[in-house]
Symmetry: C2
């Protein structure tokens, strides 16, 4: 019997084709209903937890997931649901807000570098150094030659991390303009969420096309063999979580992590431990 979820799999962006960032690309067909899909995702999440233990023990690699996406695209939701499956001891979440005065006095990669997960750990960036070619570009916070030079800086930085054992996966959560509208509207009406809004967040909706251009160039310039970008259809939250959980399972499985052998001195001492 064919795996009914086999079509639900992410592929890195294909640099030979124009990257689709329209409304249609924000949805993907699934032959499963929501209940079936969430059950399949629960299996993936249990597997993630299992894989994490050996990954942590093995200690050869770190895993870093970079999450980017427009407001309300689901970055927090992915962390809560997918990263919620991991043992908190081995997880590090870094959220990137507007840079502090100290951060602004440093190069743009400085604050990202500080929170790269060490080997054995599974990290996630909620926004990242990519804001420096996204919001910074669209809001014209630095001159074009400055942000334009950053694509190469990012690629070499990520190459260096990869050479040091960090496995990098990057997901752009892609929502349609209509879906974002509905989610923002719901949030504005929800007192447990509307306190978080900044005026600038709403203004960004008026810059939709400028952001689309910035996302496209980011994907084209910075999806590399060592640190691929995935465009995640995110209008449906259950599909989004499933796709990311599956990609992470496959990534962790590919490391073939193994438990280290027992220390010889401990082995000898353990013999006397009846």
């Amino acid at each position: 019997m064919a795996n009914p979820t086999s079509s639900l799999r992410l592929s890195p962006v294909d640099l030979d084709e124009k990257i689709k960032l329209g409304s249609k690309a924000a949805r993907i067909e699934s032959s499963l209903d929501k209940t079936e899909l969430e059950a399949a995702t629960a299996t993936l999440l249990a597997r993630l937890s299992e894989l994490q233990d050996a990954f942590h023990a093995d200690g050869r690699h770190a895993l870093l997931l970079v999450l980017q996406g427009r407001d309300a695209s689901g970055k927090d939701g992915v962390i809560k649901t997918v990263y919620g499956a991991f043992n908190p001891t081995g997880v590090h979440v870094a959220a990137f807000g507007p840079p502090t005065p100290l951060e602004l006095r440093h190069d743009f990669l400085w604050r990202a570098h500080q929170v790269v997960p060490p080997r054995g750990m599974i990290g996630v960036f909620n926004r990242s150094h990519y804001e420096d070619v996204l919001a910074v570009r669209v809001r014209e916070l630095v001159p074009e030659p400055v942000w334009r030079a950053r694509y190469d800086h990012i690629n070499t930085f990520e190459r260096m991390l990869t050479d040091s054992g960090v496995i990098i996966r990057k997901c752009m959560l892609h929502v349609s303009r209509e879906e974002q509208h509905d989610r923002l509207k719901a949030r504005l009406d929800d007192p447990t969420k509307n306190w978080k809004f900044r005026l600038e967040d709403l203004k960004d909706r008026d810059r939709w096309d400028a952001y689309t251009d910035a996302y496209r160039e980011m994907l084209e310039r910075c999806s590399t063999p060592w640190a691929p970008w995935y465009v995640v259809p995110s209008d449906d939250k259950a599909v989004r979580n499933h796709l990311i959980a599956r990609m992470l399972v496959e990534t962790l499985e590919s490391t073939k992590s193994a438990y280290p052998p027992m220390d010889e001195a401990v082995r000898a001492a353990a013999k006397g431990f009846a």
Copy 2:
């Protein structure tokens, strides 16, 4: 109908009585069987997740849980199960291993201070600055006048943190010598766990009574009104998790966290958002 779990509640150590750290104190009677207890705990864990959201939004306090206990007393298990219930975005886990050469060149509180959770965050120390009056004392790593001065330093440090909005709760996971034996034996036979052992861990079992003295003095000297110590009967893992989850629920509820109001400029802008 009385709450069947009402007897399962932690109280801070009672400084008017001699603290019991024998085998009997490692167990507590529960009228619930394991399935009922785990169901009751699941309810508490769901409540924790709910309380965390408002706690994070409110941002007036941080929560710091300090976990201490002998090897195999269940510190990792508490983090995995109880802290696993929280949204990873708002959690920070700090594990304290043997100090690095740099840490040894600093005062003993330096490394702890760096990982105190900021307001809005829920942190946990897996071992802590208390190792400096426990392992350091028992293994005679510094002269007695040095470690003896530390109780007061710890109390004033924790007082300062409390004054800055950090809510501190401290749990000593108390296992009996028999239960520890069984857990260590099982771990030594388990290839997914036995690689973690250090010879020193096994030797610590021969120093059982010296550790008991060190724990007792720590509890007596450092259980304060602002940062109480709880002795958690931990021979039964389900009971242990229930007790800690319940204490955390009560602690978070006591903060009466509330969501901040919506920004007025956003409220005005939102009116035009149909």
